[in-house]
Symmetry: C2
Subunit: 253 residues, 2 copies
């Protein structure tokens, strides 16, 4: 069995035309993504970007007093390090691995080359993914303002679930609390309710979702908005509003 998953498990890499895949492949390095590792710190100059295959990375802001809040989450549908092609080279937020697995690493300059390549496929994919990321951030802001911990917990678990292979996730309540920017006790209480309802089952850092439809009902609208917009922006045939008219090849592999 292979030590690393195929790079084409990442949706962006998979959606590239064969020629672009061939250009990138020699520069893609598989890297382990252990839980808790900080990929980059706020203000760091980004040397590499990462394409997750089966891990989840959280982008979170850490305040001066140590309190934190998750801005958005990245899994196999996206990439970590958009500041590399956006031009800033760094961001005020931290990228931390929230669920272990592996990813493919690409030097920043290679990404910029491909971004500016005559074949605009990579550019289109990156920009559309960035818009999905923006939607997620915007919805996080709304959710933080208006929704209860119970609703937010549901949203958060669902977003994670969409990026994982099965219905189980390994996360302590403490960690979840850091992501949501709330007290651990608040998560304990919310999770207790969900368990009592038979929607989830958890046990020392391991959560199993038993009734996903119920979960979606209990979540706020934010999850659905983000999911719908992400799907729209990553549908294989982009709408005519897209920059160049040249269609993408359907993925090779």
């Amino acid at each position: 069995m292979p030590e690393h998953p195929s790079p084409w498990q990442n949706h962006i890499l998979a959606a590239l035309p064969a020629a672009a895949q061939e250009r990138l492949l020699p520069h893609l390095t598989p890297v382990p993504m252990p839980l808790g590792k900080v990929i980059y710190e706020a203000g760091d100059n980004l040397e590499y970007v990462y394409f997750p295959t089966d891990c989840i990375v959280s982008l979170l802001y850490v305040m001066e007093n140590g309190a934190s809040a998750e801005i958005s989450v990245v899994g196999k549908e996206g990439m970590v390090g958009i500041a590399v092609f956006m031009g800033g080279g760094s961001t005020p937020s931290r990228a931390m691995i929230q669920s272990g697995g592996s990813a493919y690493r690409l030097p920043g300059q290679r990404l910029r080359d491909e971004f500016n390549h005559q074949d605009a496929s990579m550019r289109m994919l990156m920009l559309r993914y960035t818009q999905a990321l923006i939607t997620q951030m915007a919805q996080t802001a709304v959710c933080n303002r208006h929704h209860t911990i119970d609703q937010q917990l549901c949203r958060w678990i669902l977003l994670s679930l969409d990026r994982l292979p099965d219905n189980r996730l390994s996360m302590t309540q403490e960690l979840i609390a850091n992501m949501l920017g709330v007290r651990r006790e608040g998560v304990t209480e919310a999770a207790g309710k969900l368990q009592k309802l038979g929607v989830i089952e958890y046990h020392r850092g391991h959560i199993t979702v038993l009734d996903r439809p119920a979960m979606e009902r209990l979540s706020c609208e934010c999850y659905a908005v983000v999911k719908k917009e992400t799907d729209r922006l990553q549908s294989p045939l982009p709408p005519e509003a897209t920059v160049p008219a040249r269609p993408l090849n359907s993925l090779s592999r």
Copy 2:
């Protein structure tokens, strides 16, 4: 006196090299931007983008139950309608004029043409501006989670002030409450405190900032983070991390 301000009052247009300015000028139409007007609704397909010269536009999300929250704010430093070049063509949020004035309108296709032009200036400017916008959204999320209404009001007024010519803004407390996603009474109370401290003075929809340094002290860190990052991303000479090495001409006029 001219009926419309010069397009070069907009920082993005001003930062373009002369050749790019000449390409765009014939397609830039001055448009009035009256307070309260909705530039585009959530889900609308964007026909035009707007470059404010002296108005402020709020991007805000309106929930199913009618509650709202501001995602970010755009003034003469930026543009409205990034979804046009990001590829989505629409967003789940609304763009509404928060402070009246005027702007220059550009057809979406013209923007895409310039975005993909061999001269990458426009592309660089747009991408860097987008990153600044992302920073603002992320910080809004953090602020909504952790800070009090008093702090957020300071942040919000400062962000608006940076986009206006003087130290006065015309906004009712009701409007501000909608932007911050809180009750009007909450804003009344916070504004009352600021007035008592002699930091601001207001009178039926007109706020005058008397002591800006105090305002900055009373604000949360979020304002400073956004300001610093925005300045960094829009400094005239981008750092080497930027996509193409070709330098921008320093702005004409």
